[in-house]
Amino acid sequence: MENKSYTKYFILLSALLILLFFLNISFGSVSIPFKEIFQTLTGGTPSKESWETIILNFRLPKAITAILVGSGLSICGLLMQTLFRNPLAGPFVLGISSGASLGVAILILGSSVFGGFLVSSSISNWSLPIAASLGAFLVLSAVIIAANKVRNTMSILIIGLMFGSLTSAVISVLSYFSEAAQIQQYVFWSFGSLGNLTWNELLVFGIIYFLGIIGAVSVIKPLNSFLLGENYAKSVGINIKRNRNIILLITSLLTGVITAFSGPIAFVGLAVPHIARMLFSSSNHKILIPSTAIIGAIVLLICDSIAQLPTSEFTLPINAITSLFGAPIVIWLLIRKKTIFV
């Protein structure tokens, strides 16, 4: 494909992203006219004061979260698929999100198991993300230590999966000894949620996200060389170990912070890189990193708008929506295209 049509696709996708961003904000239990929303976002005041609060303190942070989560998870998926040269890899293969879940599980479920140490009523806004980050960081350190002991990249994949099962097992044991109320609280967290983020939390999220994206852009060159396999990458002067560690660190950081703030969101990280590769029919990371980010943001905005059930009081769990609507689309794409690439 020529550069010109890449540009055309990028312009179209960006326009779609902006449109969906506004649509997403206009959906919700209170219906607000599109014109009023546009007016509020551009600095004006809407005709009802409550609308301003709804838009600026609830819907806008949620839409921004959707963009960060969608693009972040998708880039992690892309990095993992290229690093492991495996189309089934995703941000969760390293067990990072299981680590985050473990942190949250210990915080919520542990309070009934360990009794006095943690009191569930003291769970504040910040304790969930902190517990999740600590859990993710714990698994990340274990994976990186293991990664430096084994030479084979495929072994790291398996080690990550093992850490994942280990943490899931610990969570099962914890749930077995927990009370129904705590289990319910944990299950709600695992449904995933893009809302509930204050502007302060969003700022912390945004800074870490931005660092992750800078990191991802900085490894475009080694990522492209990995397309030929590790031996060729080494032969063009790429430091395999260092770049592998950088990629693992970026993925863990992004997955960790995303899971911490929005719960484990399935499917997006695995599927979006494939959608980007099919749409742009390229394996070049200079094209794939921006396109994966934009498509990831679009996908999550769509999923969130569906989860919102326009004009209804209810919000469906985002984690279910991403898989319910996403999986059939990917299956259809694969059957149509017949081949799958890294």
């Binding site: 040269r85 060159k221 030929l228």
Partner: protein, 265 residues
């Protein structure tokens, strides 16, 4: 004598190659003393499993030598960083490439990575070099095709083009004609031979094509069970080295025809 050492691009001293495990050393071959000059086509011959690939991997720093030393352009290989070595030595491997949608042009362009900036932008020099090697290997018409659509023979030329784009004095190829038919095998051999003559690059390759190697090689490194013979094809024919290559019951070397002949029943 002085001119000889100036022309020498690769030298080994008492090199032992093989695999090091925690418990033991598995020596594949030892006491290898090579001296390879600029612009030569050097072919490594020997039966399966005798250590041809191990030698090439050791020379390319993919694998560590068990003993002895390797010098590339009079500098010890162990003191080269991978980045530095990437501008002196390039490789064509036998391993299959992972599936991807890379085009031929993109794949060849990856050979320019030692010279590109952190964002991997191709400069005018890079583009010129890439177009030049596409022409040299006669794959210009394939440049927008995806590499997984190519035939084995075409893919091999693309991989050779990638190594050429890396612009190194030494190119190491591990069995570049495996899986190819006779026609394409000869095309690859003559391409490599032409390259050594035109560009004065040194090409070191392994092969099972003994008869063709005798015709094309400037220098042969012959692995046999007893020892490693080195020399020009004529030298090796004259001192009967080829007789030691295979067990004698099936094929024998015929000195007059300068090739291996299947025994008559």
């Amino acid at each position: 004598m002085k001119s000889m050492s100036e022309n020498r691009v690769l030298k080994t001293e008492n090199l032992s190659i093989g695999y090091q495990t925690k418990k033991a050393q598995n020596i594949v071959a030892s006491n290898i003393n090579l001296s390879i000059e600029k612009g030569k086509l050097v072919i490594v011959l020997g039966k399966n499993g005798i250590g041809k690939s191990t030698l090439l991997k050791t020379l390319a720093k993919v694998q560590k030598p068990l003993n002895g030393s390797i010098f590339i352009k009079n500098k010890k290989l162990s003191s080269y960083s991978h980045q530095e070595l990437a501008t002196s030595l390039s490789m064509v491997l036998t391993e299959r490439l992972p599936e991807s949608q890379l085009t031929v042009f993109e794949l060849v362009a990856l050979g320019r990575q030692p010279y590109t900036s952190w964002i991997d932008k191709l400069s005018a020099v890079d583009l010129e070099k890439i177009n030049c090697v596409l022409a040299e290997t006669e794959i210009h018409h394939l440049k927008n095709k995806r590499f997984h659509e190519l035939s084995d023979g075409q893919l091999q030329r693309v991989l050779i083009a990638r190594a050429l784009a890396q612009d190194t004095e030494i190119i190491i190829l591990d069995e570049p004609t495996a899986h190819l038919d006779l026609h394409h095998t000869i095309k690859i051999f003559s391409l490599l031979k032409n390259l050594t003559e035109k560009t004065s690059k040194t090409i070191i390759m392994s092969s099972h094509e003994v008869n063709l190697s005798i015709k094309f090689a400037d220098e042969i490194i012959l692995f046999t069970d007893a020892k490693i013979y080195t020399g020009s094809p004529t030298e090796l024919i004259n001192n009967n080295s080829f007789d030691n290559l295979f067990p004698k019951e099936i094929v024998n070397f015929n000195r007059n025809l300068q090739q291996f002949i299947i025994n008559k029943k």
